[in-house]
Symmetry: C2
Amino acid sequence: MTRPADPRATYIAIAASAFAAQGYHGASLATLAREAGVSKQALLHFFGTKERLYGAVLTDLAARLCADIEAAADLDPAQHLLSYFQNFHAASAAKPEDIRLVVRALLDSDPKARTWPMKPYLERLAALAAATPGGQGRTEAQIMAWLSQMIGRTEYLAISTPAVAGMFGQDMASEITAESATMVSAEVRRFCAGTNTG
Amino acid sequence: MTRPADPRATYIAIAASAFAAQGYHGASLATLAREAGVSKQALLHFFGTKERLYGAVLTDLAARLCADIEAAADLDPAQHLLSYFQNFHAASAAKPEDIRLVVRALLDSDPKARTWPMKPYLERLAALAAATPGGQGRTEAQIMAWLSQMIGRTEYLAISTPAVAGMFGQDMASEITAESATMVSAEVRRFCAGTNTG
DNA sequence: TCTCCTCCTTACCGGATGGTAAGTAGCTTA
DNA sequence: TAAGCTACTTACCATCCGGTAAGGAGGAGA
């Protein structure tokens, strides 16, 4: 058996997928180890405890989300924001694992005594939205509320799609995803144009 | 120790709160029993297994959500829809437990071999939206996509508020919730007026 | 009074859980 | 060649998990 080049990164990726699917309590160290093809202690060797492994997964996820914002940093703010949300919507629909992880982290987050790995991500998006023409006349809370709704509608679509497909069929679920993409783009344009969305 | 009048309903309420906070795997029968002040077997006597208890919690939740829609059934469709989403937003922000339960159920739902307790809820809302002036010119998928986004933005706000309060303070979180309420009302009015939201 | 029913109780079980202890193969450095 | 490091391994442990077995208190009905 060949050992992976970067075992730590490998284990984080496997754990991320399992935590996204089963949640923190639903995924066990033994299962993770079996999937990785190593013993339980291989994981504990790198991360010490299950909780720290979970923390590493979330930190890694936050870094990935932040990096996605910079993918189109050469565009002007309005185009940048539009591009980001279009890509975000497409990526969420195609590979919902990261989104499931984000939402699970929100549900399990302890309001006190925690670091907030997602904070830089939100701050970066808020700065970007504020720099668009539409962001000029809005308060910080208005921008954050708009961002919350944009992120929320996209992430909710991603996590509800399996259930919607089960209820109404895969075709309807795909149609809904396609319509949602159009709506998301339109909403970003409306925000950037400065039209009152509230 | 006085026994509750309707033990089954009491246990469902306690279990709902625990499942909302900790998730299915995070809440144990022993913990639920301790909160209810009875032994573990009291719960198993009524529900047989933990999974069936969870099922009863979700069925009860779905019934409550459906009942909420009919609270303003005397209004015309557009006013009814607006009233529903305003109440939904307010209730989600004030008492996010039910919303957390819904989102956890979505994350944990098995696409096959499951019943869908939320299906009647979605169908009722879709029929209501279709009956508004704005619903006339839209396809079923467009209406469902719009509903998904309305539900998503509202539920996401509810589950993200604790984290936002931790990151940016309680005041900012409250401001965001207030701004979101305005935006949700505006979006329902725009939909009902038939303005193209996509 | 006897039986049945609901709503519990205590006692117990096999298996899974996160975590500890101690040791090892193989490479790198001194 | 000896020491030390990384990246593991097997063996083990106390605790907790969901679930079973058996029985009992107390009210209702015959």
